[in-house]
Subunit: 355 residues, 4 copies
Amino acid sequence: MGKYFTVTCFGESHGKCVGVVVDGCPPGLDLSDADVQRELDKRKPVSSAISTPRREEDRVELLSGIFNGHTTGAPICMLVWNRAVDSKPYEEMRWTPRPGHADYPARIRYQGFNDYRGGGRFSGRLTAAYVMAGAVAKRVLNKKGIEVLAHVTQIGPIKSLKTPSVNEIRLNVYANPMRCATRDVAQLMEKAVRAARDEGDSVGGVVEGMILNVPPGIGQPVFGALDADLAQALFNIPAVKGVEFGTGFEAAGLKGSQNNDAYTIKTGQVSTTTNNAGGILGGLSTGMPIIFRVAFKPTPSIAKPQRTVNLKEGINMEIEVKGRHDACIVPRAVPVVESMAAITLADHLLAVGFR
Amino acid sequence: MGKYFTVTCFGESHGKCVGVVVDGCPPGLDLSDADVQRELDKRKPVSSAISTPRREEDRVELLSGIFNGHTTGAPICMLVWNRAVDSKPYEEMRWTPRPGHADYPARIRYQGFNDYRGGGRFSGRLTAAYVMAGAVAKRVLNKKGIEVLAHVTQIGPIKSLKTPSVNEIRLNVYANPMRCATRDVAQLMEKAVRAARDEGDSVGGVVEGMILNVPPGIGQPVFGALDADLAQALFNIPAVKGVEFGTGFEAAGLKGSQNNDAYTIKTGQVSTTTNNAGGILGGLSTGMPIIFRVAFKPTPSIAKPQRTVNLKEGINMEIEVKGRHDACIVPRAVPVVESMAAITLADHLLAVGFR
Amino acid sequence: MGKYFTVTCFGESHGKCVGVVVDGCPPGLDLSDADVQRELDKRKPVSSAISTPRREEDRVELLSGIFNGHTTGAPICMLVWNRAVDSKPYEEMRWTPRPGHADYPARIRYQGFNDYRGGGRFSGRLTAAYVMAGAVAKRVLNKKGIEVLAHVTQIGPIKSLKTPSVNEIRLNVYANPMRCATRDVAQLMEKAVRAARDEGDSVGGVVEGMILNVPPGIGQPVFGALDADLAQALFNIPAVKGVEFGTGFEAAGLKGSQNNDAYTIKTGQVSTTTNNAGGILGGLSTGMPIIFRVAFKPTPSIAKPQRTVNLKEGINMEIEVKGRHDACIVPRAVPVVESMAAITLADHLLAVGFR
Amino acid sequence: MGKYFTVTCFGESHGKCVGVVVDGCPPGLDLSDADVQRELDKRKPVSSAISTPRREEDRVELLSGIFNGHTTGAPICMLVWNRAVDSKPYEEMRWTPRPGHADYPARIRYQGFNDYRGGGRFSGRLTAAYVMAGAVAKRVLNKKGIEVLAHVTQIGPIKSLKTPSVNEIRLNVYANPMRCATRDVAQLMEKAVRAARDEGDSVGGVVEGMILNVPPGIGQPVFGALDADLAQALFNIPAVKGVEFGTGFEAAGLKGSQNNDAYTIKTGQVSTTTNNAGGILGGLSTGMPIIFRVAFKPTPSIAKPQRTVNLKEGINMEIEVKGRHDACIVPRAVPVVESMAAITLADHLLAVGFR
């Protein structure tokens, strides 16, 4: 992933570790294990209501590319070691693909050689690698005053109707387990998750991301569009089924006169009076905040029995996915969305020669 | 664009030509000028209601990579020459960015050196290059029995509520100017476009795409996801603001038990009883039809006066975008959506060694 | 070719044209058809002694990426049209691969679909595309004061023993048909070519290239080494069989104390007292001139009868390659070597953010 | 490095580890730690005469991409941990670049932030990563019956004049510390190294590589030439100053009639009676053995005093590079040459759809 700021992930859910190599990071940026750990911690499950009782206390280890507390310009390898985990339940399901998971196509893609334990490389656990890389990308962005934020706007049927201020997002998101910028909505969301969990079911949701202080003119037309690359990055997050910018799908129903953003100039500074474009026109940043929304499907691992097939015996059957899983992964996806956005933007900044 | 089936576009709206080089096409495929022309013709404006009176009669010219009616394995360069066009109106707007267009960020990105005439490289005219490349990609796919379809499901406020059959799509889409699979809905859509045009305004819409007969296991997890690459390709089409697969944004409100697709086996053939996933799980094709929707914003060029700025004089002002423009570009985007999907899939097929 | 300054070639020897798309060129550089033509003209055969009587008067046509005499930042497509040529002789040789040419492996690689006329894509004519792209790259370099030179140091058995000065190279190379910096050696070389031609044979040679005023620190260790990328570019020139930097193969016989270049500082300027490294250490430029030599094999097309096989009938046979061909292509390779060096360096300059 | 079989290295000489991620390896290949260790062991110093007394006993650790003894198709991360090393000597030389090393350009490239201890990322120690990746590449090649060999043909002034048979190479190379296929020459070489060492000096040499059983038609014309990519890979090995294929630089002095390889057919099998081309024509493999030679400069670290500069104080001075270093690294480069050739070929095999 990436052309100038490149990210290579490795590792599996139940293998030795999950890691990432970031190449192309400029030299001279402050970066410590603690900086990366802080980002990783945002991904920790925080509420017993919504997430797996498995303790995932990931400690990042930086293996290369750092010297005397600064990036050196060399590839940065970072990883978290996996703890001993029980892979037995997966043995039983080896021939019975779980609905909504990649078990079946993965089996075909890798001719049966893929590490199927815990979803292997398709596990949400791999997003720890995205977050480690994102921590480095954020350092690149911070140097230019660019800030990446994300917050949950919908969990199952509960939608946050009012638009929170940037400050509300900054203050509230990591202060509640739902990563929602509006506290009372967060409580409703948590209730919805709890209800799903109690039914042995799961819920999805929507995360809104924003990138502040991006200078105008970042991106490229005709392959290399900033929105195209952001969308690609976001769809590489497991469970993402939709991405939209600015007014997004709603724009399809608007008129040009409603959707166009009028320009205005004030003390030499050009801006638009609205931001329906979500900060991107023709694949280039406009200088306004970049705004996008990402739709997550409900977690496919549910306790309810589901119909599937036994591939070995070639028969239809029922499956109950064992173990405890997150009834909703959307809140934990918030730092992942931030990270993928940060990585993409860092790549585009370096593309235009920002150092 | 692409890694194995690579596409490089060149040309500008009011320059000499719009062209494309396709590299990585396997040798031995039948391909003639007529094959590419047929696809290009799908992009032609067909209704005086919806599109520009500019006559765009593009004749493709194949410059390389073809010998004795077959692809040779060498890069295929194709182009359409531009006709003499009047670029004067653009001269006047050089310092006054049109709302909703990329004029302003492009000016900054290219330090004022970009060819601004007719939108230059940001013009929808560049999509002719996508369609030429798509014609080659479709040849690659056809050899494997893979078919790419697209149809308009929404224009402004008019949504097509029923799901057309594959045959209705095949038969009807290119038989009406709105590229809608349901004829009576097409008429309502045309009316909506006419109304917008008469007001000096424009409308957007939604195109649904589908790819049939994709074998399971195409794609890649963790960077290289098939949906991620499709989304990236689609967002590189001008005016796209949203992309979703299967249940898409609606999935955010569903429960896992509703959204998961149950597997079933019949005479050794595995399939799912529903296709909420839109044919992709974990970045890999499932073997079910790949289904996605693409949201287009309303054409930014409208006759109504709009507020903008004069960048030279640093003042606010009003602009009326002259010339006649499409009041709705969505129907013309249908073959473009098909093409971008075909290019992406051809790339992924070659990635797994399909020849 | 290239990552930041990317070059895509298309066309065949006897097809419609030979062309190239250069992407990633910064906006705002002066560039006209004449600038590119000047470089192309360096590649013209100048002596009846050494080259084909076929008249190759290539006129370049710039199709995109230029506006008002400047690069726009958009892809630059350039081509030369092929004249009507007689492809019949190649029809006869379709099943009888010419020794030293790529006919045989090309046939296998492309399953017989490759355009074999005139060598198709393997023809030296394709280097016209390299030179067009090189003309753009030189513009990028000139802006930074970087100069690329090349000259012939050996033709067959004739080696130029004395090292010419930079000024001699600048003045003499394009003033004699052998592209040799030393005039009397040039005459001996021409005699050697004439002798080979009269025997129906051919000769090879060596071209030395140099790049002046490269700032130190350009390149990358561990994949992306400047010498590695230069070598790759140079080996993509047909007929190249060896590349060396600085003392090159001779270094294998030297001691460390002889081959190391001592550093010295003078008015704050660091340099080395010798340049055995050829201006590159650890994949990075040192600030000294980059010096390399490129070995060309003798032209494989010779009038003498040669043993080959008839692939259709599966028998051994003799072939006489018809038509008149260059008895030595080395002088015509000089601008090609310059171009490939310039393209590689432009790519590396952009990689470190030079604009 | 690589497009289909991609290799990403990380780590520094005196950092925590040296590692590599290999992506694109097909699933289902047998691969164990022992397989990689066997290759790594070939790189171990074996003679007190030629190499550093530092004990480098590298144990490889495979972190991902392997399951039940097979590759899974997921990225394979492998590393060797560095032992505690004394970095103090490098502290002293921080401002005094060692002649022949990359210290000076690295300092500029990375603005002083590079990890300079032990040469950091420019150290020969990084080639352990190449060898680990090469072990995987060899597995890919073995499946197709392709074998990669290398042997030392020159050390300082001692050249091996006779051409050893393939069997001699297989048997003798790893049976003597000079990695020479001819035993008595090996003894002369060892003497030459000893002599250099005793003078506080060093010697270079030449490694010849060969790749057997490559099918014809592997590679690509016009960017992507097999020889070009092999050369690029080989020049990414530290200390390489020249690469040639087949007759190489000697070809420059030959006539076409001498250098062309005649084709012959026998029981339907096409081959050439000579192999002056070194197995590659027009960037494609011919089916004959691929033969190349790689020139290594003498190790720059020598005990003799050398002139350099103090960059902090801006003065000329003398330096004596402390510690014990290899008086000749050429024998240890043999498995590295094999590895880089194997990686390049694996990449090209996958490019044409070999699985």
